[in-house]
């Protein structure tokens, strides 16, 4: 479960805008590469019909696929419900290396796009006209899927971070809702003192959360330039984060419950987990997973490192891509475009997805949506504000999936033994460097 969590809570990969190097040059890995596919080609393909196989775990795609089939009766969308996380990437990588059973469309989280693009696993969508869609998306997600002129997928959703808090608990103990991380630590102490069963948050070690926290604190541990990688967890931002979080761990102020488990849902429901700092997609999970606490929770901006500062980070989010070995490229692109840029976006937002498109984020209808779960709060205003305050110079490693898989063996020690969080990060760094070198990257320490 913990690993899945890391996959899910992983922030958006704002890939370095620098070129990924010669190996990653898009466009040479695809039948239709180089020649533009005109809108009329796509229309003709839609008229002719065919089947598109889609691997995705996004629940809202079901309705989108049904609508799409209604609009183009000759096209059949074969939506294969995937389990998120490791299993998905293992299956996708296996299919690609076996050159058999590769889906026509695959969901890929932002952190993993560069990994598949670098190994030529994904088609460049620019010849289909995807490059002209750049202005439709918020910069974070767009940077994650694009590379120079190549576009490897269309952003499906995004996860600007916010702090969700259980207002009932804060009101009961008359504790102010923290706006900075220092206040957060004070609130954690006060809450736990008022009721030893209550924790300010749960954290048992989660790579996605930690990297998002570093992102907000201004740390930039990963620098990627093609196959040249630099990993360094010793900058000032990282120190800000470890100093503060070490207090919470040392004083046992965070509950050692893993995210996404039934214990976690239970804790969110019964008031023993008082806050949750995560992506703006969380309300949908609150509504179905914690129905008993409806009305108790509210959204607030992510606590800042210095009072009044407005910095945020991204957490989670994914794109739809066209694996190079997939078939029916025109139809596949038509579906991806419909789902993530066309009418599908509205359908998905209505079902609780958090968009990556600026038009939806800034529409007054979206911003004035009242969340019944949050006592009628217009929470999207906070989320949209957060999206605007995300620093866009963060990058993930081109082997982030592996790095996150060893998080618990390195940084995780800080949660269960006397290891310092900063030492944990150092050993995570060392292990990542070692792996990167084995994979043929030039790693600077």
């Amino acid at each position: 479960m913990r690993r899945k969590t890391s996959r899910l809570l992983r922030g958006i990969a704002l890939l370095s805008t620098l070129a990924l190097g010669a190996t990653a040059c898009g466009g040479s890995d695809d039948d239709s590469a180089g020649k533009a596919v005109s809108a009329s080609d796509i229309q003709a393909a839609l008229k002719k019909g065919g089947t598109v196989t889609v691997w995705s775990w996004e629940p809202t795609l079901k309705t989108v696929a049904a609508d799409f089939q209604k609009k183009y009766p000759k096209v059949k969308i074969n939506l294969v419900s995937e389990r998120s996380g490791d299993k998905h990437y293992t299956a996708l990588s296996n299919a690609i290396s076996a050159e058999k059973g590769v889906p026509d469309v695959a969901q890929v989280e932002y952190f993993a796009v560069s990994q598949y693009a670098l190994t030529k696993g994904l088609s460049d969508l620019a010849p289909f006209g995807a490059d002209k869609l750049a202005s439709k998306y918020t910069p974070g997600p767009w940077n994650a899927v694009s590379e120079d002129k190549a576009v490897y997928g269309l952003p499906m959703d995004s996860g600007p971070m916010a702090m969700f808090y259980n207002k009932k608990v804060f009101d009961k103990y008359k504790i102010a809702v923290p706006t900075t991380w220092d206040e957060y630590v004070d609130a954690a102490r006060a809450l736990h003192k008022a009721d030893p069963k209550v924790y300010i948050a749960n954290d048992a070690g989660d790579a996605g959360f930690t990297t998002s926290m570093l992102w907000q604190a201004g740390s930039r541990p990963y620098q990627v330039d093609g196959t040249n990688v630099k990993i360094d967890f010793a900058d000032a931002g990282a120190k800000k984060y470890t100093d503060t979080w070490q207090k919470l761990i040392d004083e046992k102020l965070v509950s050692p419950i893993n995210g996404w488990t039934d214990d976690w849902y239970k804790g969110l429901g019964d008031g023993t987990i008082a806050t949750l700092t995560s992506g703006a997609w969380m309300p949908a999970n609150f509504a179905t997973g914690v129905p008993n606490a409806a009305g108790d929770w509210r959204a607030a901006p992510m606590p800042a490192w210095t009072k009044g500062e407005k910095a945020s980070a991204e957490n989670g989010g994914s794109s739809l891509t066209l694996p190079s070995l997939g078939k029916n490229k025109e139809l596949a692109y038509a579906f991806v475009e419909y789902a993530n840029s066309g009418d599908g976006v509205q359908t998905r937002v209505k079902q609780g997805a958090f968009p990556a498109t600026t038009a939806e984020l800034q529409s007054s209808e979206f911003q004035s949506t009242k969340f019944e779960y949050f006592g009628g709060q217009e929470a999207n205003k906070i989320f949209a504000d957060s999206a605007a305050n995300v620093a866009d110079d963060w990058s993930y490693l081109p082997f982030q999936q592996y790095a996150n898989s060893i998080f618990n063996d390195t940084v995780g020690k800080a949660y269960v033994s006397g290891t310092k969080l900063s030492d944990g990060l150092k050993s995570w760094q060392d292990a990542s460097v070692k792996y990167g070198e084995e994979q043929g990257f030039t790693v600077e320490k």
């Binding site: 479960m1 899945k4 969590t5 899910l8 775990w57 996004e58 629940p59 809202t60 074969n78 294969v80 419900s81 389990r83 998120s84 996380g85 299956a91 076996a98 058999k100 059973g101 959703d157 996860g159 996404w260 039934d262 849902y265 239970k266 429901g269 019964d270 992506g279 997609w281 949908a284 999970n285 179905t288 997973g289 914690v290 129905p291 008993n292 989670g316 079902q351 609780g352 997805a353």
Partner: protein
């Protein structure tokens, strides 16, 4: 109890009344005998512990299947919540996601009928042949079967996957059915059972009367093998019904999922961004999934017992 057991009666009292108890029993006829075993506090305690260990998860399952998602979070696991939602849960389980649960149930039934049924049929044929016919290479086959019993199916799943992948059979129901057809343990059991249950003289008599081998098998041997067949059928049914790892690596398309995989997909929805959290349906679905197995066990219990005991006493 079948006849082989009664012929072995001298060993029964020794087994149940403990060593060294034979002489006092003769002197005091009123004391516990083979039919009324003595009470042992230690055994009672141990058995009770095992009963609790086995039954508590079932009770938990039954209790929690009556709760809504809200009730699950609000109440203690070992007692009922205020809301009794069993019927709603059952209805929702069958209607959720356009009734996909029914599809998974039918898939499981198909895998059981074709896979476990086929495995039993093959085991009966093979076991009978090995028990009653002499042919070269029998010892080799014996060694292979015994060896195969020791290899868990899970260990063979990945090589099987690679093989099926080459044949283009993955992601089809065949990928689950064909490996399920092989049951070394079932074959071994039928072999032992056929050796015991079918007197060779009977077969010879039938041959002298002019019956063909096929007719002898179906009209003479098969009825005698009935308890053994039921036992093997139960074994293979349980194995196929609960199979998780094989379908997990073979199947991609959720339309072909058995219940085990389907329920795990429902469970993992809770770990997905925007996923619908339906722990209540996962629990109710699990309860519904084990009901047919419980029914099969209760209905076939007497065959199951005599089948297991056969071959264990005689000789």
């Amino acid at each position: 109890m079948s006849s082989p057991l009664t012929t072995a009666s001298p060993s029964v009292p020794a087994k149940t009344s403990g060593p060294g108890r034979n002489t006092p029993r003769l002197r005091k006829p009123g004391k516990p005998s083979a039919g009324k075993p003595r009470r042992s506090v230690l055994l009672t305690v141990l058995t009770s512990l095992i009963v609790i260990y086995t039954v508590v998860p079932l009770i938990w399952l039954a209790i929690n299947a009556t709760k809504t998602q809200t009730g699950l979070a609000d109440s203690s696991g070992m007692w009922f919540a205020d809301d009794f939602a069993l019927w709603d849960n059952i209805r929702d389980t069958f209607t959720y996601d356009d009734g996909v649960f029914t599809r998974w149930l039918l898939n499981t039934l198909m895998y059981v009928v074709l896979g476990a049924g086929g495995a039993t049929f093959l085991a009966v044929l093979g076991g009978y042949a090995l028990a009653k016919f002499d042919f070269p290479g029998k010892r080799g086959i014996f060694a292979t079967v015994i060896g195969a019993v020791a290899v868990p199916g899970t260990a063979l799943a990945v090589p099987t996957f690679l093989m099926f992948s080459k044949m283009g059979l993955t992601d089809t129901p065949w990928a689950v059915i064909i490996p399920s057809l092989v049951s070394p343990f079932g074959l071994y059991l039928m072999w032992v059972f056929a050796t015991e249950a079918i007197p060779t003289e009977l077969l010879e008599a039938a041959r002298i009367d002019g019956a063909g081998e096929a007719r002898i098998f179906f009209t003479v041997a098969l009825p005698l093998l009935a308890p053994g067949i039921v036992t093997v059928l139960l074994f293979t049914t349980v194995a196929t019904w609960n199979n998780y790892f094989l379908p997990l690596i073979m199947l991609k398309d959720s339309d072909w999922y058995p219940l085990t995989l389907g329920l795990s997909v429902w469970n993992s929805q809770a770990e997905t961004i925007g996923g619908d959290v339906i722990f209540n349906l996962v629990i109710t679905g699990s309860l519904l999934t084990i009901l047919p197995l419980i029914a099969a066990f209760l209905l076939l219990q007497k065959y199951w017992q005599s089948g297991l005991a056969a071959g264990s006493v005689k000789e």
